[in-house]
Symmetry: C2
Subunit: 258 residues, 2 copies
């Protein structure tokens, strides 16, 4: 009945595949904003799956704000509700910066091996005082640094593939997610982060203060990254300079499902 027929294949969970298909349709405008989706039963028939499976997928979309469900009425494509830079998702800095209309750039600041602070080694499950690799970078919008990151990476992640010298080269770990997934076999699934405000003059990146106004507000995110098995992988500190960046967040009551 539908052009561009695409039915789910086995191999990954049907529910995830249906999420993908529906996201495609929403983003490509097959389902226009504010329109009503086909009913759960219709989608179930179209995809040849049970209504339960369709409901799971729609639940995921609703949780992520793409869709709004109304009991007794239907499921609707959310209007502009698309949250722009969700703080509770993993951020892709390149997308973030280009998405706001700036030219994206990357700058190496420094890399070195040093002993981990007690808090860091504990969070990563390392021996007290174990050495870690510290890599500091800046990301620029139209040439102006707007994000600084400090990554603290345990050497056991990469030392089977790379020498210490390799790792000190500018850009060796950039982009970070691809480096971790490709070279280290670690896929980051989740961060546990602490968020606080600060001022540019109160922070140091690789022993240097950030460029620009020392009174610029800064959003500081300190976080531990975990892989899919719940094992801590690395420690990361992000400094988001407040001038040009805004972040959104959906906040809910606890245990309010989806």
């Amino acid at each position: 009945m539908v052009m561009n027929e695409r039915l789910p294949q086995r191999s990954s969970p049907l529910e995830s595949q249906i999420v993908e298909i529906l996201v495609e349709r929403i983003q490509s405008g097959v389902y226009p904003v504010n329109s009503r989706l086909p009913s759960e039963s219709e989608l179930a028939a179209e995809f040849a799956v049970s209504r339960t499976t369709v409901r799971g997928a729609l639940g995921t979309l609703a949780t992520n704000g793409l869709v709004k469900r109304r009991h007794g009425v239907g499921t609707f494509i959310s209007p502009a509700t698309r949250i722009s830079n969700p703080l509770n998702e993993v951020i892709n800095f390149a997308e973030l910066i280009t998405g706001q209309g700036y030219a994206f750039g990357f700058r190496h600041i420094g890399a070195r091996f040093r002993p981990a602070e007690p808090g860091v080694s504990e969070a990563l499950g390392l021996a007290a005082g174990a050495e870690i690799l510290e890599v500091s970078k800046a990301f620029t919008a139209d040439g102006v640094p707007v994000i600084y990151t400090v990554n603290l990476i345990p050497p056991h992640l990469f030392e089977q593939c790379y020498s210490r010298q390799d790792m000190l080269q500018p850009g060796a770990t950039e982009p970070l997610y691809e480096f971790l997934e490709g070279a280290c076999g670690q896929r980051i699934e989740q961060y546990v982060a602490t968020v606080r405000p600060s001022i540019a003059r109160n922070i140091l990146i690789h022993d240097q203060p950030p460029e620009g106004d020392p009174l610029l507000p800064v959003l500081v995110i300190e976080e531990v990254a975990y892989n899919g098995s719940g094992v801590p992988v690395l420690f990361e500190i992000e400094y988001l300079l407040g001038d040009r960046m805004k972040f959104d967040l959906v906040r809910r009551r606890r245990f309010s499902n989806r």
Copy 2:
């Protein structure tokens, strides 16, 4: 078989009731940290519900970090993983402040009716320039203001119960959630928030700067509150003074279910 037998009653969804029961057991230590929970089938039998229903409840607990599931092994009570002040949940300021060991206090700063800014009236679905009630408060820790809030409340919410004069009295809307739920019949289910850092000297609450160091970092949360039907209820601005407060956040990849 189990002491303190408590079986779910109908009336609210079984799944939610099972969540509550399990949370009680976890918090009261019936299931100690790191211990394995009974298997899904055992719980299903105990509660006399289907395994599907138990799984839903366990999924909610896993999403909220109380529990860690391991395929082929079991479901385990998470260790200290309890996130302290989750930024993605609705914050109860009194709990937040007392929970960090300070004495909680509340201070009325001002209340007035004024026309809404275009951004606010649009977000709340009001006519351009409609009048709203602005209520400004401070919350103190050991007497020191650590949180300021500005609530922008559309008059239609309360004008059937209260006069405008009533609403201008100090504490008329405090605690806010109880006021909204009791007097206005509005239960807040969700906020869509924007988070940014700032500096104390850059903000004004009821025409006054905050007390204390003008260079104090401030976390600013601007948010629209929605009720369960997705209707915007009020606009709120929170100023979290960065000195004593920390906030945590779990960040995930998009569409990674639970």
